[in-house]
């Protein structure tokens, strides 16, 4: 009993202060976002101010913010669709390919996920501009983003598919299903939670991407969320800090809630690909 108590005490003593430090930036973003713009630099108004939602109104009605969210969502949905179409069959095949070939190929595909955009953006920017004529268009991002979402998704899906017992498919084959039929009718439906996890984390990879978006897109209306906020919410040299804080919080809080909901599945897939 005393051991359990000590364990709990240890947990609180570690987690509470660290969570306070880690969470503090978000707390302070929230406080700043509620300040009247002219008071953010006032040292006497750090705590005592009249909270206002004016910055949220400004952000939603007088900037291209909603447009950037729309752009990010459009790119995200398109990329998720492409990623699933390519990664689901591949992830399944790699999960079922026993022995050395399957394992090597799986690791090889995963390693391409580690090739960073910062290495590829220079040649890709030329290809996008000269050969594909997609400069400053959302299509450029839709074409390029699968380069990192596909390896990532294959890895996760491999982990999920490995948890599905082979016997289920064998039973379907016995009942006269073709292999492909077993895949579509048995394997994919059981994997829906895993596939949902892949959709969410692929979408958030897209929402996070910065290097390609800042290189390929040049006009304000075509920006995605992570590039629009740092480049366009600054008027001249003036930062509209409350507005910027609101712009950070609006997508972050729902994303964090969704992450929390799907965290365990994500871990299962992420570590399952390697260790099962």
């Amino acid at each position: 009993m005393s051991g359990a108590w000590r364990q709990k005490l240890f947990s609180y003593a570690v987690v509470v202060p660290l969570a306070a430090v880690i969470g503090f930036p978000f707390f302070w973003m929230a406080v700043t976002s509620l300040k009247p713009e002219f008071q953010v630099y006032d040292p006497t108004k750090v705590w005592s101010f009249h909270p206002t939602l004016a910055s949220y109104g400004f952000l939603l009605h007088h900037t291209a913010y909603v447009r950037w969210i729309r752009n990010s969502c459009l790119v995200g949905l398109a990329v998720v669709a492409i990623t699933l179409a390519v990664a689901m069959p591949a992830g399944y095949a790699l999960a079922r390919l026993a022995g050395r070939v399957g394992r090597t190929l799986g690791v090889a595909i995963f390693l391409t996920y580690l090739v960073p955009p910062t290495l590829l953006f220079l040649p890709l920017s030329r290809v996008i501009a000269q050969y594909l004529n997609l400069s400053d268009r959302l299509w450029s991002l839709i074409v390029v983003y699968p380069s990192f979402t596909i390896p990532f998704a294959i890895w996760l899906l491999m982990g999920f598919f490995k948890t599905i017992p082979q016997e289920l498919e064998d039973a379907a084959l016995m009942d006269g299903c073709s292999r492909f039929g077993a895949l579509v009718r048995i394997v994919f439906p059981i994997s829906i939670p895993g596939i949902l996890t892949v959709i969410i984390f692929t979408f958030s990879l897209v929402l996070n991407e910065f290097v390609y978006a800042i290189t390929f897109i040049s006009s304000s209306t075509n920006r995605t969320l992570p590039v629009g906020v740092p480049t366009d919410l600054i008027r001249g040299d003036l930062f509209n800090w409350p507005g910027i804080m609101a712009a950070i919080l609006i997508p972050s809080i729902p994303l964090a809630l969704i992450y929390n909901a799907f965290l365990n599945r994500f871990i299962a897939g992420f570590t399952g690909g390697a260790f099962r």
Binding site: L94, R179, P251
Partner: protein
């Protein structure tokens, strides 16, 4: 007639037979992915290597072949050498901090207690929020006039209002500031994977260790840590790769300044390749990340194999 029909039927049956073979089906299912990755990663990668040997500038994909000149001129450039060193510092220090703090958090969060959901939610926030956005948040927290960090430090008399810390304005402070943000954003992912590592230890092992009298730190050192090491290492190697090759945090907070004191390989490649338009030179700088990547890849393969054996 009948013969032709029979042949046709056999062909269809053969085709069906082929489609039912595991190897063929596997190749069919995997090939789109391989094609996609080859086109979007392999080709640009080869192009990057090619460009690094040319004097290509913005607006063209070709240039005069200049051999290794881009590489040698970079190696003699003090800014580039600085960038190499800063990349190393930025990666090693931030990830060392992450290992310690995420390790602590993981051990504390692995068992359930009241309020764990909320605390875990808060700790996940930096990972879930897009980093390009939260980095701008830190631009505000580090503001030279109205930094909240300075305000707090003044309350506890660790900073004076007369001479406030210039978080992003002096070389040493700027480096510490971007390292802090990078550690902050990497902690949640490492914590989550560490927790997975700890939970992967079977209860029987725990019990057996307890039977043998291993408790507390001894158990941690001789039993828990070695067993969770393979999974934990994946998180660490990930952290290293995505810190050494990412440019969001330095780009937004300092863009390499002041006086190139926070210039890392990625920001320097971006400034040279995109802002200054020296595509060939920029590609050469970016390629210097390869040794980092290769080392990590070797490490990953090594430990993936070990994990499989044990």
């Amino acid at each position: 007639m009948g013969v032709i029909e029979a042949v046709g039927e056999r062909r269809v049956r053969n085709l069906r037979y082929v489609a039912e073979r595991r190897g063929f089906l596997a190749a069919l299912l995997i090939s789109p992915a391989v094609l996609f990755i080859g086109l979007l990663v392999g080709v640009p990668f080869a192009l990057a290597v090619y460009l690094s040997f040319t004097d290509a500038t913005a607006g063209s994909l070709t240039g005069k072949w200049v051999g290794v000149q881009n590489f040698t001129s970079e190696l003699h450039d003090p800014i580039f050498r600085g960038a190499l060193w800063h990349t190393f510092l930025f990666t090693v220090i931030s990830q060392a901090v992450v290992i310690v703090l995420a390790g602590l958090l993981a051990h504390a969060l692995v068992r359930s207690f009241r309020g764990r959901w909320l605390l875990r939610f808060v700790i996940l926030l930096p990972w879930a929020a897009p980093i390009a956005l939260t980095a701008i948040g830190f631009l505000w927290f580090y503001d030279p006039q109205a930094s909240i960090f300075t305000w707090i430090l003044e309350r506890v008399h660790l900073a004076s209002a007369a001479n406030p810390p210039n978080w992003l304005g002096t070389p040493r402070a700027a480096m510490s500031s971007i390292i802090t943000v990078q550690a902050w954003r990497t902690i949640p992912f490492a914590t989550v994977i560490f927790i997975a590592g700890i939970s992967s230890i079977p209860q029987e092992v725990d019990d057996a260790a307890a039977m043998d009298g291993a408790t507390g730190l001894r158990k941690l050192w001789y039993v828990s840590l070695p067993l969770q090491l393979p999974i934990a290492l994946v998180a660490v190697l990930f952290g290293i790769v995505f810190t050494a090759t990412d440019m969001v945090v330095p780009y937004i907070l300092t863009n390499g300044g002041p006086f190139n004191s926070t210039q890392v390989l990625t920001t320097w490649a971006f400034q040279t390749g995109i802002n200054a338009g020296n595509v060939g030179q920029g590609a050469a700088i970016a390629l210097f990340m390869l040794p980092f990547l290769a080392a990590v890849v070797v490490g990953m393969l090594f430990f993936a194999r070990r994990a499989e054996v044990t």
